[in-house]
Symmetry: D2
Subunit: 353 residues, 4 copies
């Protein structure tokens, strides 16, 4: 089997990946293996050091010819860009030194997503290691912050639920078309959203053929979503957010509910104008987007609808949690940061059925 063809070395972005043994790491490898400008120099894992990447992830056999190494700032410091696909609380320990040495950083975990360190510490249960970087970190949702991402040294890649919910509410809130005093986001995710953690609660025999809500009293993606919604609306927002676990592997669907401030607003037009030219947003007027239609693709499909004449708007927003909700969005950010075509390496169609 052929290994990825290489461009001339000078064209390539030297990439390091910290913590590539989880699903977002694997997905990053899958995408970067086919990216024409990416050269993965080093991939680290404390637990799997020495193991061949292809042994852990058989779908990468013949495409990624690397072994996991011990985290080593030396090798990472020679990179142009380091992705952190680590548990929360890891990137904040290493990012300052890497930035210092001129390496750009994209953190796929939550370390740099919240502006307020006190809020972060409340939800993540640990002190923040470098709160001074929070102001500089750019929240990497290109549809919201494209210009800032282009020049960022440090990008906080959004959470999966926040991506789906924020993109769903964005046109409505920017246009002040809904009543912010109560918004409901009922979100559903496949099992890979919880990562490759070894816990009883993620066993096939526990969660197959079953459905449930979790974290009803509060989930840590809620403050991230609220921060987004308030940023672009400029108003106080009262959001109720409940996540659910779906017996499938990939995919998030968020159904969003709000009351229209102006019942006469042209919803289709509002969304069409806001997302005109966005390569990774697909609007489906009158549709019911299903998660399989974005499986493996860096795409958010959105449909917006009214239910009768009740003055209520219902938005459906679907993504692949590992792509537009994690690794794909990270590569989209990388493309922006390095002046590449934003779609480079992200052209794959969804795998359906």
């Amino acid at each position: 089997m052929p290994v990825q063809s290489t461009n001339s070395a000078s064209d390539l972005i030297r990439i390091g990946i910290v913590g590539g043994t989880g699903y977002t790491g694997a997905e990053l490898l899958r995408i970067l293996a086919r990216h024409p400008r990416a050269a993965i120099s080093v991939i680290t894992s404390r637990s799997e050091s020495g193991l061949s990447v292809a042994e852990l992830f058989p779908h990468l056999r013949g495409h990624i010819d690397l072994r996991f190494t011990e985290p080593d700032s030396g090798a990472l410091a020679d990179c142009d860009l380091v992705f952190f696909a680590t548990p929360n609380g890891t990137a904040m320990r290493s990012a300052p030194e890497l930035l210092e040495r001129g390496v750009r950083v994209i953190d796929l975990a939550a370390d740099f997503r919240l502006r307020d360190p006190a809020v972060w510490e409340h939800w993540y249960g640990m002190p923040h290691h470098c709160p001074e970087l929070l102001a500089e970190a750019v929240y990497g949702l290109p549809e919201l912050n494209r210009a800032a991402v282009r020049t960022a040294r440090l990008v906080a890649n959004p959470g999966c639920y926040p991506t789906a919910v924020t993109l769903g509410f964005l046109p409505l809130l920017e246009a002040r078309a809904i009543d912010p005093s109560w918004l409901v986001a009922d979100a559903k995710s496949g099992a890979s959203g919880a990562g490759r953690k070894v816990t009883t609660g993620l066993l096939m025999a526990e969660i197959g053929e079953s459905f449930k809500a979790y974290s009803v009293t509060g989930h840590r993606h809620a403050p991230e979503i609220a921060q987004n919604l308030m940023q672009f609306s400029g108003v106080e927002v009262n959001l109720t957010f409940v996540p659910h676990l779906v017996p499938m592997i990939r995919g998030i669907e968020a159904t969003l509910y709000a009351r229209l401030a102006d019942p006469a607003v042209d919803l289709e037009r509002l969304y069409a104008e806001r997302y005109a030219g966005e390569a990774f947003i697909d609007l489906m007027p009158g549709g019911h987007p299903d998660t399989r239609s974005v499986r493996g693709a860096n795409l958010c499909r959105i449909a917006v609808a009214r239910q009768g004449d009740t003055g209520v708007v219902v938005v459906q927003s679907v993504i692949d949690n590992l792509v537009k909700g994690a690794a794909g969005q990270a590569v989209q950010n990388m493309n922006l940061m390095f002046g590449l075509d934003e779609s480079m390496g992200l052209e794959s169609l969804a795998l359906l059925p």
Copy 2:
């Protein structure tokens, strides 16, 4: 394999089933086969007439020794009770004559659920054949209408979504503890909820490993739910209801959202008092009920929670759509109508994992 042991004939309720080739029919057979007082006399199916029940449903081999017959009011008229497990619009054609001849009727479809024939005709797309019976028909949700069910000749067995949503909101609305001006019910169902219809949209390769909303602009269970909520609250209710399809076979989970009228209300106590003594309601304070925990059981599990101090209440309500959402509830109604222990034949535990 042993066939169901029989009691002395005089003790037994002679039962007819019209249209037993779908999933609710099969589930009715599964439950009645072990019911100590039920004797299935006749089961009809226009399409499968002549076929052995056990050939269509192999799990009934050795337990149900009947063949489907052509619908024949003669045989049905000799029954004490006839269940209609038919498409909408069938029971309304045969029920008047059966009632006339002293046979009691439980319709598992929607023909007698809505009080207002105009609303029924709007949502079901056909004229109602016997609107004069709508006033007499009892909506068979025992937790709401137990006394009326006991003496009913004609029971409208509730829809699956309406069962889960109504039982979830009931204590809050009866106590006027929530603001009825906007309620949200985000409901999710396994594929068996759509019945055994042969359509592309229910193929494994179409809906496996995927999740989506449907009927966002309006679903016909919405007016049924609204009718229930208004009945016991006595106030106008504005409900937004969106159903979703889960890649699993059995189970409904409904997540319900409302704003508390009195933020200080003791939610646990409210539910505990309302459902004290109910054999088929199980409250899980602080829990996240999963659909597998009611798989195959005639049970509604409910958990009620607050999300922070936002004044919003979140209710989770789970049922097996084929049991408490259809056939189990129908047998519960039968037990009440015939003066039996309400739990007779419904004692099975859920099948987990």
Copy 3:
């Protein structure tokens, strides 16, 4: 919710369960909770001591009102019967003392399944603690050893694969109708067959939507099957056995291949005669039994067929690995040991769909 009605205490079998936190333990509890003669006195778990059974297994809420306790031979010694639903190697440590004190024992693990301690030690990787009991232990496959089970003190409950494969080959081998020099058993199991072990390899995101073989070079159920086949055939058997993992929760299907010694043998008749009167074997001539048709039921469904005129016989054998392959068969053995109707508590129909 009502707790199991109790008979007069003197009628009841006092039961202890050691290690009830796995799936076979949970299934044993589900079945025994509805068994008219069973009274569960004690259930032990080293890891979950103090926890309410209903908290671990929500489907048992209202049906089992016990807490896990520390293993304690005192309480167990007061039982009439102790089930071991433990990892391999546990029962052999406690069984001798219990037997000594007059308690009967059914081990759902493998400790007493193999006659030859050397073979056991090879496959299970530890020395056997009480090889002197191996001769007395009765292999609890009632269709093979019914009489011996009735009088046994110590029953080795068969493995799940060995149950399906042995029952499938039994009539052919007893009748010397096939060539024993090469038999192939290609077996497939749902994820619950691996137990409730917390390993990456059992995560939903790892094994959902995927299929694979495992243990192709040798699985420890192979010597158990071979021992069975040789016992009743009296000849040397060369078996190739390969297990596979199916992306579902419950169910085993084994497809068995052999060459007919006498191509003219009447296969249907052979099976019908061998299994006449067996309550838990269902023959489906010309059929393709699916695992769902036995889900939750104590039943082995078998179909036997020829493929063209090649002289090859193909047997399909399906069970629910947790019922006829584990807990249901254990209760069937209990019924025999205590002189009860063999079917008591095992009358439930399969849950389909």
Copy 4:
């Protein structure tokens, strides 16, 4: 969303697809949409004529800007190549005229797979319309017939099961390393293998969470496999083939059993030598390839093993039935027929998890 960038028109292969509404058609579209040398000119469907492709298959939105048209030999005759993704019996009616007019043809159905029209007619239940073309048709398994494919006008794309089973047995039979007097192929497929047919037997609620064999008395892929095996071994082969249905969407796993003619043969080396240089075969010595590791990829993963010293070899062979088992292999054949790099457009990695 960007539509596929186009090359200069003269470089492109003008492609027609007949019957693109099934899963193999959709998969062909997914692959060709990203193929640098493919230009889809026309796609026909009698049932969906006029419908936009993207409406039927939402994952193709923005990538395929075509509507289904009525079958029309005029438009097809202007193509360089026509794929038939039709039910069996369709291609044989249109292929002769297209070939006449200089259009090359790849049939993804079975019309040209069997050499002997009598065998074809027996298994496919209809007379063959152009038996005179059977001798010319090249069986498009490149690993077996690469040279012939390069110059073919008419390619019979192999069946999904035959691809997995043939590639698994090929090195053993070519080397005469096994006893051909009895081979067993126990094969398992996801639901998409049965196509997008609307039948009860493919509903999620019928086949989810269940496993079964089918066609045990004979499946029409058996003569196709047998023809392959005899072609390259030159000896008579007695094959027992049983297919099974797995509750998943994509993937085939075939477990193959044979007795070694020479027990000392070096199996790993045999396979390594036979498949050296093959881009779409991946050998996994000592492994257990799972179907997910080839999901969406044009790849056959094979592991070969012995079970103890019984003289039996066990081969595991996995493919994605829609890719290497259908559309991917068809594009591989197209590449060969048009002198392109055999891997063009087929470089995607599997989607895992």
